[in-house]
Symmetry: C2
Subunit: 610 residues, 2 copies
């Protein structure tokens, strides 16, 4: 035991020293937030985390998530100690081009990090998703999440606490690094570990309180947490800047690197530079569970009008029989988004997250990090609740397949709180995202199938009402494509989703008056079919873009962008979308009010020809 204590302490000291060295070298960063968790990391990696450094993506590995992402130096120092990165790499912290970024990000050169952190309060939900994936695969793996005490003010943490207890995940361990100091000064609750532990117990978690710098006690806490039933929170009382006299528990040292002179003194106080290397325990041999024989059914086809949200659910149910990696999550609206169709055929791969959209996306991020093809759905309006999680998903290089139902004013009577009107703007602005907005059931099914293999953030926007069938079952819907549904050179209407139907009605009425208008279904909003749009502008001189979304940031802006990027501008582009605050009404009334119904579109086209 004495040897182990010596090792844990030496390793913790090394993690602290290396955190100081790399931040001083960088001239910025968070050494004190790293020192508070050094012992917690040391004992974890030396004695509890089962992890193959050579095969970091092995499904047999335990997982660690540094939710307090600003303590990245401590994580990198630990990765050095396990031989994953070199000392030179460590010292490249925060340098341009280095994978050792200011906050952890799973860039290709850093496969030992699974997800990006740095926006606080997100790691626990990710850990929950990992634990759910491990349970599905029967690996018996453990997930450890290190939280800061400032970040537990984020409600997202408590969404994850709630969901973890409800789903009875067994091998999820949250470690609260209670160093009592936030960015500006003391946290709300200081070292009141009883308060944090009491809350965790009120959420159904097992809790352990411990001195976070007493390695034997920390070791015992990990052992107890692993042995305990259900999720466990270890509340570790720590000191920010522990072990260095002039920063330990001092205010004013958040996010500050030491000067070279201060660093030299600190390292001397800590006993100098070390170069220990440890090897984490090997993960057990596991053979991931495989599902029994899947019930493969043919893909849904449609001959009658159906809401695209319903086609989405039917597509998932169909894919359940072909893709054992498919997992679906919902925010307690599965009878609206129609993920219930998937749940009906694959209940063990459906995760009910209740009304907690942040935990919904966090858990999805964790599931995909462990290889699941995960879809998450709720009303498009409520995905705004998780925009930060999706944004961090993009930084995590996560493959997040999202569906937002109840798009636009077309939902009708429920009113604006339930209408997705900013979702296209929100998803379009994310790096590497794909934004899809099908107009009929056939297109929906094809696009959902395609999404299963799309990297990055992909978003499918669905409609509450039934829309008529436009396409045959063998039609392809490539990403970045479009469909020209009416030909004509007088003008072009670009639409997507529910406005395709309205635009076709407008075009047909105009055709009856001898005005031949082209209609393009831009089901792929991002990337958009720039070549077809450019040709339409050059051939027809006028493009009227109609969307059930606010005029800013959505389809209209995507069309303008495509035109600007493909050559000189010419002709006219008229953006038609929602420009005022809606209320309640029937879907038809609301579309007429917004000016996106067939009659309004006709008028806009006529006006643009004048």
């Amino acid at each position: 035991m004495d040897d182990r204590i010596q090792l844990w302490n030496d390793l913790a000291t090394q993690i602290g020293v290396d955190s100081i060295r790399c931040t001083t070298e960088a001239g910025s960063g968070h050494p004190t937030s790293s020192l508070s968790c050094a012992h917690l990391l040391s004992v974890l990696y030396a004695s509890h985390l089962r992890f193959d450094v050579e095969d970091p993506k092995s499904p047999a590995n335990d997982r660690f998530v540094m939710s307090k992402g600003h303590a990245a130096p401590a994580l990198y120092a630990t990765l050095k100690a396990i031989g994953a990165i070199s000392d030179d790499e460590l010292l490249s912290l925060r340098r341009f081009g280095s994978p050792i970024q200011g906050h952890p990000a799973p860039v290709p050169e850093l496969p030992w990090v699974d997800v990006a952190t740095g926006s606080l309060g997100q790691g626990l939900a990710v850990g929950l998703g990992m634990a759910l994936a491990m349970r599905l695969d029967g690996t018996g793996g453990r997930t450890f999440v290190l939280l800061g005490d400032s970040e537990v003010a984020e409600g997202s943490v408590w969404e994850a606490m709630e969901a973890a207890a409800f789903h009875e995940v067994d091998d999820l361990v949250a470690i609260l690094d209670m160093n009592r100091l936030g960015q500006r000064g003391p946290t709300m609750h200081g070292w009141n570990g009883d308060l944090f532990a009491g809350r965790a117990r009120a959420y159904g978690w097992h809790t352990i309180e411990v001195d976070g710098h007493d390695v034997a006690a920390v070791d015992a806490a990990y052992s107890e947490a692993i042995a305990a039933d259900g999720p466990t929170m270890i509340v570790a009382r720590t000191e920010k800047g522990h072990g260095v006299s002039f920063v330990a528990d001092h205010e004013g040292w958040h996010g500050k690197a030491m000067s070279p002179e201060q660093a030299a003194q600190a390292i001397e106080e800590l006993g100098g530079i070390r170069s220990l290397t440890i090897t984490p325990a090997s993960p057990p041999d596991v053979k991931p569970l495989t599902l029994g024989e899947l019930q493969a059914t043919p893909s849904p086809t449609y001959t009658e009008a159906i809401p695209t949200r319903k086609a989405f659910g039917e597509a998932l149910a169909w894919l359940a029989g072909h893709r054992p990696d498919l997992v679906v999550l919902d925010g307690e609206v599965g009878n609206s988004t129609h993920t219930e169709d998937f749940q009906a055929v694959a209940p063990e791969r459906f995760v009910e997250m209740y009304i907690a959209e942040q935990a919904l996306i966090g858990a999805q991020t964790g599931l995909q990090a462990l290889g699941k093809t995960a879809f998450a759905a709720t009303f498009g309006a409520f995905l705004t609740r998780a925009y930060d999680q999706v944004r961090m998903g993009a930084i995590s290089r996560a493959d997040l397949r999202l569906c937002g139902s109840h798009a636009g004013v077309s939902i009708g009577e429920d009113g604006p709180s339930q209408m997705a009107l900013e979702d296209l703007a929100m998803f379009r602005a994310l790096h590497g995202s794909t934004v899809l907005y099908p107009a009929d059931g056939t297109a929906t099914v094809q696009l959902v199938a395609t999404m299963c293999d799309l990297p990055g953030i992909s978003y499918l926007r669905t409609t509450r009402e039934a829309t008529p069938v436009l396409y045959g079952a063998d039609e392809d819907f490539p990403i970045g494509g479009s469909k020209t549904l009416r030909s004509g050179d007088a003008a072009t209407i670009v639409a997507a989703g529910v406005t395709v139907r309205e635009s076709l009605a407008a075009a047909d009425a105009l055709a009856a008056d001898g005005i031949a208008v082209r209609v393009i279904d831009a089901y792929s909003v991002k990337p958009i079919d720039a070549a077809t749009l450019r040709r339409a502008l050059e051939q027809t001189g006028v493009i009227v873009v109609v969307e059930d979304h606010r005029v800013e940031g959505g389809l209209g802006d995507a069309v303008l962008e495509a035109l600007a990027e493909t050559g000189p501008l010419t002709g006219r582009v008229v953006k038609v979308g929602v420009r005022d605050m809606p209320g309640s009404g029937t879907p038809d009334e609301m579309r007429a009010w917004a000016g996106i119904d067939a009659a309004s579109i006709m008028a806009r086209v006529r006006g643009s020809l004048a």
Copy 2:
């Protein structure tokens, strides 16, 4: 007492009956969710809420927030019972043009509603903001918030629980309508009132458990809650659909209106239609506190480079001495956003919300509902965490003055998790929003002063680094304006914030080569100065738009939109912005990497002239 019990029960029955009547008339809506809270509303409005129906905006009034917004019919039925709206108005529920929308919204015709609800989990933070406003004004008013049991899965609720306890607001009462049924079926915890109460106590709240249909018990609970120190949660066990045999506690009745036949039966079971009118107790005479003499100082002026985030803080500190209605909230980063400058001079009007951005915006919404001019600030990246709250703020017709600091890749070493790169897109897409992005300290001060009187959602984007002084202290910055800083007809560069400096350097270098390029500072991103942009396109033929933001949804799209809306398109528009996923680096390295530094801009301008 018997008379009071009779009245409360009769009134509750009327609220239930009227909820059924108006939803059946509408053909949609939430009668069963209304029936579960009818007694809670009846006792509250008849005997505890002090409210002048004729003067609903009086600061002396107590306030009620229907956080479970889908129970809007019960709220409208209550408003009918207090004589605020007529029976005909009630029966216009969900009709096009009616203020009686599917979910409550404070449209001008409905001054008895302060904020919009319908996106769940938001009401408690709003109530907290109201309680803070009442404390500032010394009105002694009380705030009551009715929560559903499904919505407490939202972490935002627990952010508000935490903040209310921390700020020791005294007269905030949360009422949990524990009807055990969510949209799809049972909630996670059913009728386990002890669990909810235990959690609330773990957050420092006083709790009371009660049968939510026992009016005497409900009355006693309100009295106890009002008398108690600190915030109180009343956990009320209720039945969804209470009092109607075929829906009471039945699954499958969420969000469903009864048929006319069902409604008739239900109303008969409830004893028929009533038309009671009650008058809530009058609010006490209060004279809102006034602050002592304000320390009016002259506005900050700048002759040296300063970060716009610092100028933001100094502007608030200056305005503190002129605007007693000014209140500032921050998400525990006041030393980064520089709201600490305001806190230093007006600590009693500064609210530290810690790292809980949803509660930050919710509380701000409550403060402005009671007349405060409220600013909220955090990193722009972290405002994504509260996008749903800001969206609901727009529906609430709230005047939310927001500042997001640390814009773009220019923050440098901290990396992408801390970089606001989607914020312009996010705010631009909101109804009636104003989006401002100043390039220097002078512009910042002027725009902050202007924001104090702007209606709706206004967003100021600030920069971490110092930027040079561009403007004299007497320069005006009208909303919708721009500044042409260099003249020339070879091409136009449109920039904002930090890219103005880079664009000026590019233009000056090009000028040295005999290429005269116009440079426009588009500090007002929305509304944007369309006339100046149109003229620039027509006179120079080329516009290069440069922004430290993702290319989608931000300044580039705003420029294209302005050009499309002002006439035929002509010439070229080149959008320059962030197109890949950044890492860490110095600000200069990151701008060069993104192609938004002076050298890259020069190259893009030259390329567009070719």
